[in-house]
């Protein structure tokens, strides 16, 4: 909630600041800036690059601030780490009271620390205690155990730092809270602050560090490049086979009523079935090896490419075909020189969708069962609470998916420049 409010505040502040800066600047009179109606005019709305940059900086800034990262100068308060203590008051069976100090050492989980040293306290029946607690954790302590008569009935703790306490109640001490359980133990919770614990959300530099580590040493017997490469390889093989089968099938469906009638029920039925729903069947039939994954991706790409090719053929203007016939072209020449180029824009649109679906499907399939791959890497890391690897994997999957889309769009612009201008 705090994170969301902070994000909304940055959004609003950046907008106000940007507007103010804009107003102070001399205006450029390009076509869009002279439009008085921009609300509802889609063509006048292009992404504000300044906003994009601020947005990304804000995301990393918030991430850093809430994880105590080195990349941000400001942090939200972190958990208490270090030595602290509280004084407790105990009453023995005889009704006498005495005070002793519990010395706490709060350390970062993973570090090796000793118990704090306890000075010898000669007088009274209550003795000092030493307790160590990991940051963000809590500890259950029975400070009376080492006291003289502390295990006898009628011996109880009555106050913390002078504040009276009873079973079920909670009091604060200087650096945290203490709750007394029903059985009289103390549950000590040092302040957690607002920062996230690394096993929930590691700092950006920790994720980056993991990238370096996995890139050089690999993860689970395979290098990072083998993980990502095998995912990409499966997508490419599945997509290529799907296209090799799907595009001619789509053409046949667009050109022959028999093919159309024969395959329409199959295609229309298989199209809305999410490829993920096929994973269990694929595993039963083909096992968890490469073969099953390629077949799954082939199926994911097949229907999309078939429908794209079919739409491409159906979308050819009859006057183009008539013109070609009137110019003396044969059926084969019309297919080669009119129908195929005319359907390319549709096929490219289909290919973009298919690559996106295949990429999502391969990750999901690897989550279920695989010995390597981006999906396998993150699901395996999550089992060992290696959150930094999980986040790293998600980021890499996103970057690769985005990269695939950009490459497809570049190829489209290069290969079918007439798209949408026919």
């Amino acid at each position: 909630m705090i994170v969301f409010l902070l994000y909304a505040a940055i959004f609003a502040l950046a907008y106000v600041a940007y507007r103010a800066w804009q107003r102070s600047r001399r205006h450029i009179h390009d076509f869009d800036s002279l439009k008085t109606v921009t609300f509802g005019d889609e063509s006048a709305v292009s992404p504000n690059r300044f906003a994009s940059v601020v947005s990304i900086i804000a995301l990393f800034g918030i991430w850093g601030a809430f994880t105590g990262s080195v990349i941000t100068p400001l942090h939200v308060p972190g958990p208490f780490v270090g030595d602290t203590s509280f004084t407790y008051t105990a009453r023995n069976a005889a009704g006498e009271t005495d005070q002793a100090v519990a010395h706490l050492r709060v350390y970062r989980v993973g570090e090796d620390v000793d118990l704090p040293e306890v000075p010898v306290e000669p007088n009274g029946f209550a003795d000092d205690d030493a307790i160590k607690i990991g940051a963000w954790r809590s500890a259950l302590a029975r400070p009376n155990e080492n006291d003289v008569g502390g295990k006898e009935d009628g011996y109880s703790l009555v106050a913390i730092d002078g504040q009276p306490i009873a079973p079920g109640e909670t009091v604060r001490f200087s650096d945290g809270e203490i709750t007394m359980t029903n059985k009289g133990s103390l549950s000590i919770k040092p302040d957690k602050g607002w920062q996230m614990e690394p096993i929930w959300l590691p700092a950006p530099e920790a994720v980056l560090g993991r990238l370096g580590e996995i890139a050089s040493e690999g993860y689970k017997n395979f290098s990072l490049w083998e993980h990502l490469g095998s995912s990409l390889g499966r997508v490419l093989v599945g997509f290529v086979i799907g296209s090799i089968v799907g595009i001619p099938l789509g053409y046949a469906m667009g050109l022959s009523d028999w093919f159309r009638g024969w395959f329409d029920p199959i295609v229309e039925f298989m199209r809305p079935v999410p490829p993920l729903a096929l994973i269990p069947l694929i595993i039963i039939w083909f096992g968890i090896g490469e073969e099953g994954k390629v077949i799954l991706l082939f199926l994911a790409a097949l229907w999309i490419m078939t429908i794209a090719a079919r739409a491409g053929v159906s979308g050819v203007r009859i006057s183009k075909v008539h013109a070609a016939y009137s110019l003396g072209a044969s059926k084969w020449q019309i297919l080669r020189h009119v129908i195929v180029p005319n359907s390319l824009p549709e096929i490219f649109t289909g290919a973009r969708v298919a690559m996106g679906v295949c990429w999502g499907t391969v990750v999901a399939a690897e989550l279920v069962a695989a010995d390597r791959g981006a999906g396998m890497m993150i699901v395996n890391a999550s089992k060992f609470q290696l959150t930094d690897i999980v986040i790293l994997g998600i980021i890499l999957i996103g970057i690769i998916g985005y990269g695939i889309d950009i490459l497809m769009r570049m190829a489209e612009r290069w290969l079918v420049p007439w798209k949408g201008r026919g």
Partner: protein, 268 residues
């Protein structure tokens, strides 16, 4: 030779509800080589159906079309077609569009290139040969369509409202171009149009068709096409005879439309 004979053509479509539509009834016509025939008529008079039968895209239910003594049974390179719009191949350059016919026939580049260059000059696109189709204006695209058709050297050119989508000024320029190409190449041309003025300007012969069933209503022989070759077409339009004919044909079509409306009201 070079003559087109349309002999007692009938066209009847069956409708899904069991009825049928008589799109053409007993249409007969003979065109000598080099004649330019304009076909005019209200919507539904079957003029596009007639053109599609001559082109070979439709088989008539009665009668036949013969060109140079050969019966038409399907589309062929000897009958070129110019469409209203969108029939160019936008994945090819202007040059490759124009050379499409010869290329498909497997003619060598050395033979085709001078023809294409010559046509580019004839239609005034000499600087646009390497442009893509989508980079051209509508008028320029129709120039390419004309050149593409001529590159194939057909005996008959069939034009289905080729200038229908152009603005008035471009249209006037293109009408001059059609006349010029007709005179220079001596091709037989059938031109379908919605515009009475265009039919009068371009048609050496003018066919007015009537709807339901589609049939020939009246035929004219006109002097204006001959008059207009190489001249400002606006001067032709100022001729008193031109205005007279225009009024006559307009009221003829007006009456047909009235009749259709009346019949529709009756049946409704």
């Amino acid at each position: 030779m070079g003559n087109l004979v349309i002999d007692d053509l009938s066209m009847r479509f069956d409708l899904p509800n069991g009825g049928s539509v008589q799109a053409l009834e007993n249409v007969s016509l003979e065109l000598a080589k080099g004649e330019l025939l304009a076909v005019l008529g209200p919507s539904g008079c079957g003029k596009t159906t007639l053109l599609n039968i001559v082109a070979g895209f439709l088989a008539p239910t009665g009668g036949q079309v013969t060109l140079n003594g050969n019966q038409v049974t399907g589309p062929g390179a000897e009958r070129g077609m110019v469409f209203q719009q969108g029939a160019l191949f936008e994945w090819m350059s202007v040059r490759r569009n124009i050379s499409f016919g010869p290329d498909m026939a497997g003619k060598p580049q050395s033979e085709t290139t001078p023809v294409v260059e010559n046509l580019l000059r004839t239609v005034g696109l000499q600087d646009f040969g390497d442009k893509m189709i989508y980079e051209l204006s509508g008028g320029m695209q129709q120039r390419v369509a004309l050149a593409r058709c001529l590159a194939n050297d057909p005996d008959v050119i069939l034009m289905d409202e080729p200038l229908g989508a152009l603005d008035a000024l471009t249209r006037e320029k293109m009408q001059g171009l059609v006349l010029k190409l007709w005179k220079e190449t001596g091709k037989t041309i059938i031109l379908i149009t919605h515009s009475v003025e265009e039919a009068l300007l371009l048609g050496e012969r003018l066919l007015v068709m009537a709807p339901r069933p589609g049939r020939i209503h009246k035929e004219y022989r006109l002097p204006f096409a001959e008059m207009g070759v190489g001249r400002d077409l606006r001067l032709v339009k100022k001729e008193p005879e031109f205005a007279e004919r225009r009024e006559e044909i307009l009221s003829m079509i007006w009456d047909m439309e009235e009749e259709i409306m009346g019949r529709q009201e009756e049946s409704a």
